[in-house]
Point group: C2
Chain length 332, copies 2
């Protein structure tokens, strides 16, 4: 046999799968089998933007049964079809969470903080890995100068606190979008919430910020928060939802935060409204503008819910988009 054929391949594959008890072709002295490893590789990845060093640090990923209404304006069956096209299971969704650290040479800046220790326990260790992965990357939480919050959803802010309720980044200035602060601290806004995701999560969000009312810095859109890190208005997902341009020299990237949830579903279908969007029509409008620009200008986009290391380029195809992940650089 000098060529493989599809039939041959499928036959041998099935045979191989079915016959683990068969004698292998070659029998060598059998060695003690190595036990399978129980831990994934440390979840960080580094790249440069001009003179800045970015360290992408995963907080983990949550896998949960696909809710009937996960996409507000499309059926579960339609979502399942898209998941299948992306080679994902049909009955569950997996959403990654990905803060980044930016070393500007002058400041060490963390954007978003992951799910924190309480959810680490509640999810049996699926999320809440930011502290461990920061440690693996050699980044001391005490050395973080600035924590920038993109928006106040729980997966972005719970990591501000340790298990004891202390500040996880004790020496950092904490910066939140002014509009976001106004929204989540407004009893009037919260009282208007319909049943659903936002109503269920807001007490925990408020609790995170108790005692920080006069400590956090409220920031505006279109401003440079730290030299080289500029805020971009991307409302809709939440009222004060913010993205960022990170620029050093002539190099720049976009940090999108939650302009979309997982790209396999929502970049491909930019009009689809994930259930977490507070103002889904505005979020859709933001999405299209943001990705039209990212694709036209070939910005690299860092996405909180993109698969780790959560960075890629956006390609426009007709009315939808597609993420081309960056090629991993194994050596700095």
């Amino acid at each position: 046999m000098t060529e493989f054929s599809r039939r041959q391949l499928l036959t041998t594959a099935v045979a191989a799968g079915a016959t683990t008890a068969l004698t292998p072709l070659v029998t060598s002295t059998s060695r003690a089998a190595a036990p399978p490893a129980t831990a994934q590789a440390p979840g960080f990845y580094r790249y440069k933007v001009g003179d800045f060093q970015i360290t992408v640090v995963t907080d983990g990923a949550a896998t949960f049964p696909l809710p009937d209404n996960w996409v507000q304006n499309h059926s579960k069956a339609e979502v399942q079809k898209v998941l299948a096209e992306a080679h994902q299971p049909a009955e569950t969704v997996t959403v990654p969470f990905t803060p980044i650290v930016i070393n500007t040479g002058q400041k060490l800046v963390l954007i978003d903080t992951g799910y924190g220790p309480e959810m680490h326990v509640k999810t049996k260790g699926r999320v809440g890995h930011l502290p461990a992965n920061l440690a693996a990357a050699g980044i001391d939480p005490k050395s973080i100068d600035t924590v920038i919050i993109s928006h106040m959803h729980q997966d972005h802010v719970f990591g501000l606190r340790t298990a004891e309720g202390d500040l996880a980044f004790p020496n950092a200035e904490i910066m939140v979008p002014a509009l976001e602060w106004a929204y989540w601290t407004s009893d009037a806004e919260m009282s208007k919430l319909p049943e659903g995701y936002t109503k269920s999560v807001y007490p925990g969000i408020r609790k995170t910020f108790v005692g920080l009312e006069n400590k956090v810095t409220k920031y505006e859109w279109g401003k440079e928060l730290v030299s080289g890190i500029t805020t971009v208005a991307t409302p809709g997902h939440t009222p004060g939802h913010t993205s960022f341009v990170v620029a050093s020299g002539s190099a720049k990237i976009l940090v999108q935060s939650d302009v979309t949830n997982i790209p396999q579903v929502f970049l491909r279908n930019p009009t689809w409204q994930v259930v977490y969007d507070v103002d889904p029509l505005k979020a859709t409008e933001t999405r299209k503008k943001f990705y039209d620009m990212a694709s036209a200008d070939k910005f690299m986009v860092q996405g909180y819910h993109f698969p780790f290391p959560s960075a890629g380029y956006v390609e426009k195809r007709g009315e939808d988009y597609r993420l081309m992940p960056i090629a991993w650089n194994p050596v700095l």
Copy 2:
């Protein structure tokens, strides 16, 4: 301002890039800047195939000036256009090298061995990282039971030797394709070689195997080498080039070896002939059959020259293909 505009974004981005000396919006007590990290994250990644555990281990990536004839049947300008579409630099090519370890529960199997210590030095540390990354993954080279070589090109076999010339995996059976062995050890075949890549590399390849003539196991296509690992004939890149089905229970993947070089160029353009292909027309034929099957049957494909972690699904689009990388799983 409640919305971003493209003009606003570009303006602030440019301003941010040009004005690192500007006073930031918020000035907090300046802390000592953390030094930039000097090392990338350890380069391994784990996933399961049925009961098997795969550990993908990068050997590094080589970046070199784009040769005029890198693609035998297309111009440098055409290659540069494709690289640009893939958001890669136009004047260089980056090729990653990615062995895998398969723990079947009974055997610890390494497929391909990377560039080894000599090339590690010659490339100033761009390649030859397999030993360090195996160590990071907790895998002792002495515990490897079987080394399977897909084909005998230098980036797959040089890692068989330590810097001292000893066997890098001293307790492992070494298995090579019988046709591949016959080709590289044939003075008649080598004497027929035209000037070029193969002629330049064969002395080093032969040197690697000096003293192993009676020690290596020569294997055939369509055979199960180790329970669950079956060889698949994929000739063309080299005469004995081999791929693998790895199957456990009902789960199976394809380990393609070098059916293509980097997917950004050669999956998208399956008729393009990389300069390393010994029989480019046969390689093209193999490629089309292989990817037609992989796409139709939705096999996950592990690729030696795919960007780390070097696994994905192949989508067929008309006459060409596209790689959809797997979504990184941050927690086992």
